[in-house]
Symmetry: C2
Subunit: 348 residues, 2 copies
DNA sequence: ATCGGGAACGCAGACGTTTGCGTGAAATGA
DNA sequence: TCATTTCACGCAAACGTCTGCGTTCCCGAT
């Protein structure tokens, strides 16, 4: 079965024999069952440590139904935001003794056979982080009673979700731009498939369009740098009078593309046109971009997401829940702002 | 145990009963054992499909010792190269009916408890993609007979590896730069901990330093954008006569940082100084950078890596193997080149 | 002296698959 | 026609852990 040479992995049975007790006692002792005497518990713990005992999770899963495995659907890695999210997820999950099984990574659609793997492995729950609205994995989970939590996404039926308050973020950015004297905004969105983008744009538009201020330009940048770049080129082509005086990109990566295109065409950012983004990805902090943006509270989002999932794994009948976390504006050099600190006060 | 309400998951036992045969027959029929008659096989397959049967991998693992899970150690996601790698890995693994369990992601060290999870879950093998030389996970695997394959890394003891021919890549870049008339090179390396960087630098130096050409500058850019930026600033400070006339960054991300810094300080790339990188990450193709680089054959590397691993899972006694794949230079605008197509000929 | 009641463990079945050995029956060869 | 294969399938023992029920022993309270 395993490697022929004589290493009979130490198991609970091995331990029970060398301790002269039953396997059930060993099992219970190892997980701190109060019905085992402290002395016995200590003795078994010592034995286990000495023998280098490693529990066989597969066996545990088979017996108890709990695998400690969480299915993970990851968004397009071309957006550094998901890289951030991934690292934070893995870190926090490990601290909770949970591991991720990757179901999918990338922009493409999820094949059925892939999504079903999630059932084969009896994952305890499933985490979906993808702005993409359609998700086969979520359906399969829902049909089979596997709790689903979405991070960075608006909840769908049969799923809990935690995301940043996208509308509020868009609104904050809009107020900042207005305070900086901008009245003609362009919006670089990411199509109808992205729930985040839709919310951000809604919040922005509502807060921006007061008085004479209006949205004078919209462009579908598809959540990729190239899309933003194309938008920037289009804007640069416009006659100076028609051009927006500021740009709201629903994600930093788009905004960065736009900035590069504008500059390549000879326009100055922020002197000729201001640009703000969303997400606060590390790349946006580089001096070359220094993009003003809205930071999503990634660590907190991950923590709440994992909490939500853990709760539903423990008690599957819990109702779906959507939590919105507040982010914060990060002011950098890519957008002109009002003189003095008027904004600081207004921001409260 | 599972959800109380009446859904008794269809198992092999269920199927065996409704088919009126033994469980062993069902098991064998489902996996195409030739000792089962075609008619029986068809009948059982139909039954399984109809009942929506899903094998319980945990039970299979317990019995057969093979989990179909591969442990994955991922490098720092701040380098987009690993994002590329991840997507390709997940895609190809899924096609082979294999899944990844994430052991670690990011730059930080791997905790022991994390690495041991890999034993708890009885992973069939382990894939390590990280330029970082030290790796706790590899040791643990080696000690427990779990095959290890490293991608994008020089092999260590007890591990197979597949990587791009880094030295050859460095050499190619060096010859390209020489052909472009450069004689004073600066090298932006990533410290002694990166086996890739070391090889790339070695190959570059050997090919570049002929005749009057020499390496006039070295800088540890730690594989991050900021490191490259710092290097660029340092170079811009140098008196014009002392400055290198070209820069070899052992990874694109470093080179991009350097380019931004040089330009911010008023130097022109490539007019004042040429810059070449390594990896061919998508970001480097952006018009703003257009960095000349060396493309690693990622898809092929992943394929060979998975092959290597599969072979060793099947036959653990196979000796370690190191495979080097040839990459190709990608010429863009960040480096001056010789007039005409002299290079094309010389490259062969 | 009897009884009720924890405390501390042991028994044994279950979880769902896999697999080494059978074992009848049909097919083959002489 | 009989011995020998080959075919197709069944038996049952793992795999390692969990857990619902006992069972024993010891104590303090009647």
């Amino acid at each position: 079965m395993t490697d022929a040479p004589g290493k009979p992995r130490t198991t609970i049975v091995t331990l029970s024999r060398s301790a002269g007790v039953s396997t059930s006692t060993v099992s219970r002792a190892l997980k701190g069952d109060p019905s085992i005497s402290p002395s016995m518990r200590a003795r078994i713990a010592a034995l286990a440590a000495e023998a280098g005992y490693m529990p066989n999770i597969m066996a545990r899963t088979l017996s108890s139904g709990r695998s400690g495995l969480i299915g993970l659907v990851l968004g397009a890695a071309s957006n550094p935001f998901y890289a951030m999210l991934l690292e934070e997820l893995v870190r926090q999950a490990a601290a909770r003794q949970q591991r991720f099984m990757i179901i999918h990574a990338g922009a493409g659609p999820i094949e059925d056979s892939t999504a079903e793997a999630l059932l084969h492995y009896r994952v305890d729950g499933c985490l979906i982080t993808s702005a993409d609205l359609s998700s086969r994995a979520a359906d399969i989970c829902a049909r089979n009673g596997v709790p689903v939590v979405m991070i960075n996404r608006i909840p769908r039926q049969h799923a809990s979700a935690v995301s940043c308050d996208n509308a509020e973020g868009g609104g904050t950015l809009a107020r900042f731009l207005r305070a900086g004297g901008h009245r003609r905004a362009g919006i670089l969105h990411s199509g109808a498939g992205s729930s985040n983008g839709i919310e951000r744009e809604r919040g922005f538009t509502e807060a921006f369009t007061r008085g004479a201020a209006r949205i004078v330009f919209r462009f579908d940048a598809r959540s990729v740098y190239e899309g933003g770049y194309a938008a920037g080129e289009a804007i640069a082509e416009m006659p100076a009078g028609k051009r927006p005086d500021c740009l709201f990109a629903v994600s930093d990566i788009i905004g960065m593309g736009a900035m590069d295109a504008l500059r390549a065409k000879g326009l100055r950012v922020p002197q000729d046109i201001s640009v703000v983004g969303f997400d606060c990805i590390p790349d946006g902090a580089r001096p070359h971009y220094a993009i003003t943006t809205f930071r999503q509270p990634v660590a907190a989002m991950v923590r709440r997401g994992l909490d939500l999932l853990a709760a539903r794994i423990g008690e599957p009948s819990l109702p779906d829940e959507a939590v919105l976390l507040r982010g914060e504006i990060v002011i950098r050099a890519s957008a002109r702002q009002a003189a003095g600190d008027a904004w600081d006060k207004a921001a409260g």
